[in-house]
């Protein structure tokens, strides 16, 4: 096992990979160091995130992180989603990520914040 069973599983079979028809918020960003690219699409309702999908051209860590984040963001109030941090993801990923790869974990968080900011949902 290279990283963790969660990362392998989410990389091979992501649950929230794809497009969201009629998304309310879309944001995409890249990590200039390694070229990871993540795009997050959100459906918003009643001050919360009703649904989330991601797309990406990225490494296994980043793919797994984005997939988990989409799962964790769904059903959360915007404020709660914005409060999600690297530790929440690292706990779920269950792997020791070395410092040089930590941006692979945090890129999806940055993109989620960007998506919420783009529609004025983030204060």
């Amino acid at each position: 096992m290279l990283y963790s069973s969660v990362i392998s599983e989410r990389f091979r079979h992501p649950r929230f990979f794809g497009d969201l028809d009629g998304a309310d918020a879309v944001f995409e960003d890249v990590n200039p160091l390694c070229g990871d690219r993540v795009r997050i699409q959100l459906k918003l309702a009643n001050g919360g995130i009703a649904d989330a999908r991601f797309k990406g051209d990225s490494c296994a860590i980043c793919m797994a992180s984005a997939d988990l984040l989409a799962e964790m963001a769904r059903g959360r109030a915007v404020d709660e989603a914005l409060a999600l941090g690297p530790d929440d993801l690292l706990t779920r990923l269950g792997a020791t990520i070395r410092p040089s790869r930590i941006t692979c974990v945090t890129l999806p968080l940055q993109v989620l914040k960007g998506a919420l900011a783009a529609v004025g949902a983030a204060r």
Binding site: M1, L2, C34, D36, C59
Partner: protein, 200 residues
């Protein structure tokens, strides 16, 4: 590759220490004397002046004119040792060794259907590097997997993002060789690559 700057007729020739067994943070900029004599110094500092008056100064002779301030003495001594070592081995021999390793790498990698090789296939027109990708895996994951096996490669866009875009990839993995690399290590690399998909 042996380099003769005079035969090349180069006005300038630059190289960095860490790419030839030397320390980081040190390199050489060769300049043809006739060109250097016409150049004004870009930086001021100790040793680049001969005499100073209140309203003007006379620059020092070459090469001090272009070496102001306290130099990184230890890295320069280290680079000197690297140059001595490589000169002893002989750059012809270094080139032949690296070319043979490059040929072997290209041969062995070509046998793996999951490996996509980039760049020329003719070792005679290549440096001692081979860039590749493994189908279905991100270059950084490949690098991490190889690292677990004790193999150091570089992964990413290699400071050439437009080229990566042109190739339609996020990046590549790059194996590079030096005088210390032996054929057994290339076989080790290619064997590790054939087991990669099972590891992630």
């Amino acid at each position: 590759m042996p380099v003769n700057v005079q035969r090349l007729g180069a006005d300038f020739y630059a190289f960095s220490g860490h790419k030839m067994l030397g320390p980081t943070g040190v390199g050489v900029l060769y300049g043809r004397r006739a060109v250097l004599e016409r150049l004004e110094p870009a930086w001021g500092g100790g040793e680049m002046i001969k005499e100073v008056w209140i309203d003007h100064a006379q620059w020092n002779d070459l090469p001090w004119r272009f070496e102001p301030g306290t130099p990184p003495i230890a890295p320069i001594v280290g680079l000197g040792a690297a140059v001595e070592y490589l000169s002893e081995v002989g750059m012809e021999a270094v080139g032949a060794h690296e070319q043979a390793l490059c040929r072997l790498t290209l041969e062995l990698l070509a046998k793996n259907d999951d490996v996509i090789i980039y760049g020329p296939r003719n070792p005679e027109i290549k440096g001692a590097v081979v860039a590749f990708n493994v189908r279905g895996l991100h270059p950084h994951d490949v690098a991490h997997l190889l690292d677990q096996e004790g193999i150091a490669v570089r992964a990413g866009h290699h400071c050439a993002m437009p080229l990566m875009r042109r190739l339609g990839v996020v990046g590549t993995v790059r194996a590079s060789f030096s005088v210390h690399t032996i054929p057994g290590e290339i076989e080790f690399l290619t064997k590790a690559l054939s087991n990669l998909n099972l590891m992630l």
